[in-house]
Amino acid sequence: MKLQTSTMLALYSVVEAASQSGKQISAAEIAERYGVSAHHLAKVLRELGRAGLVDSSRGVGGGYRFSGNTRRLTLLDVIEHFEDIGARSPEPGTAQTDVGLAITSVLSEIDEIAKATFRSITIDTLLKLVERARASQAQRPGQEQAPPVPLPGNASR
């Protein structure tokens, strides 16, 4: 399963902002943490703002604040603002042949499972997964730590 770059940036941004518990986070911070284009990230954050998932403020100390409900907002909710993972453009030959139709039905099955998975995971649940991964890493000294996501405890509900 591969998501588009914009979608991944949106997920990073939403999770980072949601983990800040009402505080603001700058696009530059997110871009630096994930090693991504600040320009591309700014476009994604504007889209998230239009979708009502983050609030933005300008000026010194400005940035983005999560404005959704971490226990209601799912990964699919975020993803669908950027791409339709269920939309499959017809491959050559699929509609005309029995083999093509059979393969299409298998691919549709996979898409349905992917959508159900994204739909079942809220931002709050994802933050818990991050927390578990961090705890698991802490128990394995000597391994390189992933960049920190400030977590959650009192993340916005």
């Binding site: 226990r71 998975t117 649940t125």
Partner: protein, 173 residues
């Protein structure tokens, strides 16, 4: 072994553990059966009196080291239930706990009843000596999927499969 009845699963909230509820978790008793049946009927839309009677006798009255049928009691009524068992060596899988039914009264949801029931059956599984728990539900049952996800459950290595049986009658005799 009972069929996995994912239509019975209806958890205590839209996918999140709630605050600790004022309920007591205990094994089911015969006097609870009518309320359990009603809670399931509310959740699934189908009243299955015979089914729950049968499950009570298979899970609620004996074999409690491997089979667990628990209820959440509070406010003078049963608020929810959970049912599961230890399954051994299914297709070579090491023994693990299986949850195949959970439901909470609709007016008691978002209060942590489902979480309390789930925590209790996990304790039962631990005492039974297993270190993994599994469940199965339909992929369009987002309420239950979210509930289990919020408690840390991840996709299992198994893939559920089904087959339409040509010529079979639609109902169960």
């Amino acid at each position: 072994m009972p069929d996995t009845d994912s239509s019975n699963t209806k958890a205590g909230g839209a996918g999140e553990p709630g605050p600790h509820p004022a309920v007591r978790i205990r094994p089911i008793e015969s006097g609870d059966l009518a309320q359990v049946t009603a809670i399931d009927a509310e959740a699934s839309g189908i009243e299955k009196v015979d089914y729950w009677y049968e499950l009570f006798h298979r899970y609620g009255t004996r074999g409690r080291q491997q089979r667990f049928f628990l209820v959440a009691e509070g406010g003078g009524a049963i608020q929810g239930f959970i049912i599961g068992e230890v399954r051994d060596w299914e297709f070579g899988s090491h023994p693990c706990g299986w949850v195949f039914g959970i439901a909470v009264r609709s007016n008691a949801r978002l209060g942590g009843v489902g979480s309390a029931l789930f925590a209790a059956i996990l304790d039962s599984f631990r005492r039974a000596g297993v270190d993994k728990v599994r469940t199965l539900t339909t992929r369009d049952n987002n309420l239950v999927l979210s509930f289990f996800r919020s408690h840390g459950m991840m996709a299992a290595p198994s893939i559920p499969l089904e087959l339409d049986l040509p010529g079979a009658r639609g109902g169960v005799a």
